[in-house]
């Protein structure tokens, strides 16, 4: 009643204190996603489609701003007012493990299969890349950017470490695990982006690697 949803600051949107750690922010974001996802029982009939899209977009911006230290510092400067000052000093203990934690399968916003598939079928860039015989990390990155999916989202969905995903896109073979594992990673990566056919594309990626053993 006090404030409209779109006038809340990023901390209020995610229901975290201004001094929250990255871990708290992440779990707050997960909790919010459970509530606002289109298939969530809680909010299914509460919002119209436009309202939901707006809320999800707001939450995404809030999350990706706060999770990034540089951007967060910049954002904090734009905020002023008593509530920021109040919380800055006190730091409460952070729980690093929550025993009630729900199985995290629906935590991050699902990359909507249907939405992604239409994007893939419409994009010429992606079709071009997929038709190439040699597929490199940069190509994967281009596909991902074309679809507008963040590495963070893939990381949450596939549970593959962020630095692996990064190295994968940058072809840094020395940082990556053995080929058997790598193959699994690439498949998971492609699957989360709804690229078809997974096996074929991943084989091409593996074959294009510079030092194949």
């Amino acid at each position: 009643m006090e404030k409209d949803f779109d006038q809340m600051n990023y901390y209020e949107l995610l229901d975290v204190q201004p001094g929250a750690s990255a871990l708290e922010i992440r779990s707050a974001y997960n909790a919010a996603m459970q509530m606002y996802q289109p298939d969530s029982l809680v909010s299914y009939s509460f919002f119209s489609r436009e309202e939901r899209d707006r809320i999800l977009a707001l939450l995404d911006t809030a999350y990706f701003t706060l999770i990034n230290e540089a951007q967060r510092a910049k954002y904090d400067q734009t905020l002023n007012g008593p509530d920021m000052e109040l919380h800055r000093g006190v730091k409460k203990p952070v729980s690093i493990f929550d025993i009630r934690r729900q199985s995290a399968q629906i935590s991050i916003r699902k990359n909507h299969t249907a939405e992604l598939k239409t994007k893939i079928s419409q994009s010429r860039t992606i079709a071009e890349i997929l038709s190439k015989q040699e597929i490199r990390g940069a190509d994967l990155k281009a596909i991902r950017n074309e679809l507008g999916v963040t590495l963070e989202a893939i990381h949450q969905e596939t549970k593959i470490r962020l630095d692996y995903l990064n190295s994968l896109e940058e072809d840094r073979l020395d940082k990556l695990p053995a080929t058997v594992f790598l193959k699994g990673f690439v498949k998971a990566y492609l699957k989360s982006l709804c690229i078809d056919p997974v096996d074929d594309v991943s084989t091409r990626y593996i074959n294009s690697l510079p030092h194949k053993n």
């Binding site: 009643m1 949803f5 459970q34 509530m35 809680v42 909010s43 299914y44 009939s45 509460f46």
Partner: protein, 306 residues
Amino acid sequence: MAHIWPIGGGKGGSGKSFLASSMARLLAKSGKRTLLIDLDLGAANLHTMVGVPYPEKCFSDFILKKVTDLGDAVLTTPFPDLFLISGAHDSLDIANLTYEKKIRTLRAISRLDYDYIILDLGAGTAYNTLDFFLASRNGIFITTPEPTSIENVYRLIRAIYLRRIRHFFSASDFKKLEKKVRERLGNDSWNKPENIVSVIRGEFPEKFALIKKDFNAFHFKLILNQLRKQDNTALGEQICKIIKKHLGINVDFAGNIAYDEHVHDAICQRVCFLDRYPHTRAANDLRVLNRKMSNAFGEQLIFNYL
């Protein structure tokens, strides 16, 4: 004065009458003089759940002035300290209670001398239901964890919200407000009280302060009924959170009631579920809820119509 607990939930079959009769039974058992009023006008059937198969008097007698005092329409039940105003023989057009009769009923209810009065309301969002629900600040919403039921409970909450806001405006001011909201936020926005409130906040700050104060004094509760094993137990909390965040209304989540086939059996046998199957999970949940709620409610009670 009595504690009044109106029990509402948008959709039929969500367990309003079951909850009303069970809560009343538990309160009576703990020695509180408890009165159940079947205000599901036009679809009353509460008497079957509390062991009064053939009620001799009913709510209509009061409406049709066969009895002058609502207290004379009260029936005793087989259970000590539990009383009932039945709707079994209500006239068939009772669902369309006129405004004067509704006010007369509300006044009469406020004069009844009991420890607890539980109002079993009907499904839907007719003005009668909303006004009976707003007879007290201690309204209880009940829903099942199904999208249809949750959708209707949201609708009911929004309808109650709007009905309450309406009390703060004269008819002409309310028309003006409606026009402003539609101009500002589009035609659909009138259906969402949260939009209306955001306009009130900007346009009528003193009214907004009143409304805010008023809503802060409400202690709504939400109960999730028929929760099956596979259902998300955190659902109730999440529903309350979304209501708090987007409507600005405080609704406390009171608890879950487990789904139990025995409830159906007890109703078919026309006996009280809590007596017939006292050791089931649902019965246990009801007892826990009752204990929690009879502690948590404040004294206050309101009637805007008096």
